[in-house]
Symmetry: C2
Subunit: 462 residues, 2 copies
Amino acid sequence: MLRTHTCGELSEKDIGKKAVLCGWVHSRRDHGKLIFIDIRDREGLTQVVFHPKVNAEAHKQAGELRSEYVVRVSGTVGKRPEGTINNNIPTGVIEIAAEDLIILNPSETPPFEINDEGGVQEEVRLKYRYLDLRRPSLQKNFRLRSRLYSAMRNYMNSQGFIEFETPILTKSTPEGARDFLVPSRLAQGEFYALPQSPQLFKQILMVSGFEKYYQIAKCFRDEDLRADRQPEFTQLDVEMSFIDEEDIFKLTEGLMKHIVKETLGIDIPTPFKRMSYDEAMKNYNSDKPDIRKDKAKEPLSFLWVVDFPLFRYNDEEKRWDMEHHPFTSPRPNSLEEFKKPLDQIRANAYDLVINGSEIASGSIRIHDSRMQEKIFELIGIKSEEAKERFGFLLEAFRFGAPPHGGIAFGIDRLMAIFTNSESIRDVIAFPKTQKGICPMTDAPSPVAEKQLRELGIKLNKR
Amino acid sequence: MLRTHTCGELSEKDIGKKAVLCGWVHSRRDHGKLIFIDIRDREGLTQVVFHPKVNAEAHKQAGELRSEYVVRVSGTVGKRPEGTINNNIPTGVIEIAAEDLIILNPSETPPFEINDEGGVQEEVRLKYRYLDLRRPSLQKNFRLRSRLYSAMRNYMNSQGFIEFETPILTKSTPEGARDFLVPSRLAQGEFYALPQSPQLFKQILMVSGFEKYYQIAKCFRDEDLRADRQPEFTQLDVEMSFIDEEDIFKLTEGLMKHIVKETLGIDIPTPFKRMSYDEAMKNYNSDKPDIRKDKAKEPLSFLWVVDFPLFRYNDEEKRWDMEHHPFTSPRPNSLEEFKKPLDQIRANAYDLVINGSEIASGSIRIHDSRMQEKIFELIGIKSEEAKERFGFLLEAFRFGAPPHGGIAFGIDRLMAIFTNSESIRDVIAFPKTQKGICPMTDAPSPVAEKQLRELGIKLNKR
């Protein structure tokens, strides 16, 4: 360790002790004889005073310090003179009389002031993300995000869930959004796809008998980016066997109660209110209504939206599509349901809405192959096509699939709500712009001809 | 919940209770009048007996049951008759007298017996991975893997580390291994790369002032696959600021002690033995020696290999390369070191070796830009090239980079050692073959012409 203490921990009880601190020069006040600097590390700020009589060389060096220099200071903890005490910070009663100074690294003048006052273009902030991330609000956001992961996992583990990793290099299944593709070098002309979600794998793990799966998973969709979309985003992904939707509600409510308490210190009441899709559409003209009466005063309001339609008529294609994905079961979960007109069949699907944002979505899946075939028939997927697109899952279902269902939570959106952030880019460490660009690394970028040749691909001339 | 109990929890104290179990038919013995089945779920096995007098219909249905059918059985817990008690399993004293049976899903005859006796070709096991994963040894491996994640994260959190996610879609930096590329649709002709490791991002996070970073991270390398390599693999990735190598050793030893205790229940002694690279090469002719004296009796032996050379002469290219990556600092960490002949300069780098396997590797990084320039000069990287390859990190270093260092642990290899697995494929849920193929999903696979057109690429004619 290059230090004895952090910049947030020294207080009145340490007066008289020797201390070595490391950190960034946060501010400097040169009073000629005395030079004051505030050193900053992730835990706080500590005032250091350089006196020429204590160490003339250090005092001289301190005169050269500029903002964001990285320094190591040794000295003795003393009480600040009356009238200079700062009660706004925990270290505000003490200061360090510097006996030694090492400049660990100088810094050029940053392209913008490192504070939360705004006014800096986002493109510039993202280019210098390493400086942007020094801002107090972003430091706070990412420490909270880490606590959120931990609270989520602790809760899932306490409920007997098994954490899995599913592959990032997987098969393209053109469904819903567009896939990102990865050309294979060993099998030229063939491609991996990045997963839009671990949906098929988590259902496979139910067929494998693990019963309770979870993963904090990266998901990828190559869509045109709207305001609050990212090409890669993070979900808490969950699946359970031998359960019904009430088990998912109970698990989710316990999870939310736990994570809100652990991250924000707030107690939230459970169970959550439930509203049917029809009621939401009728009363709020939205399938994710914000039911807070006084939005300013109510920090978090949770709502289940249930009883979604199973099918949705696609006017363009003149056919029925699934409202969710094609593995969603009807409610009640019986073949009898299909005797009804299609627009009257309800889905065993549910969304969790917080303050008008859809935060989680899930369903009880079909595990009966006759019902699955019926669904494919109704939405016009021929058996050849079904085999091509979902073959391995349908095959797996032939060998004893348990009844199962699940849910997935959007962690980026949840974090944006928990931190009151305007954009999910404030809760993602290295986000992309709306054009899918990372201004810091310059990704995506041209690659060498040799790399393409090895992959057996070439660029289209434009 | 479709059940009241799991198949592993009923015992003598439950005799007389009603119970509902769900699970897979593990085995069936038809004694004509009485039919016995063992139901299996992830928690264990429970014997169920069908008697025609209790429920003639259920008894008849039970006659149709076959291996791996999924069932729901209701009945009363009773004591097994003397002489049929099985003391090898926790539920071996009881059985359920079935009053009701629901076949939740039938199963075709599996292509292989679901047990650990071996003899099934790996390609077949991977094709039917959902059945393979039902084997007791694999069930055990993945529950252990989940416990390992949890133990690792709990330890890192307890030491004040912040968990981050770094991007999967990032910039190609042709260094070391070959990158997997992802064509960009929004910027045609440009490519993202999947990260070979989060190395540059974790150093950026140190520049951002987070001080203690960790992530259980997916890493990607498009190499020709050798016996125990996978195109995607998992690391516990760690970086710290204001520290020296002793802090990394101490953290690692605490981490290993904790995870071995939590997963295997074994106490391991710390600190670990250290051996210089020269000594390892001289006495074992290996930079990852297995120092166990009696390999059969000693389950785990930990060794630090230290004092690696900083440079390695590349005979083919007639130049000096880095032994580790170009951000590794010399030891001692001073510009003075470069007055020595290059082959005598040691690196501030360290490997952790368990039973002769390299499990972790790390170094104290360069944070001084003059030293970084000196290194680039010595290994023949021109400043233009350095800018192209590592530009954003070098740029970040201009704005106050703290001294920092880190380490990364190979979780797949660690799991293989902890579970005594011959192959890392037994500890990865959905691994690829040596040809980079997933026999279950058939990835990689051809994609539609339209997908390529949208990406602005085409296949080379062969």
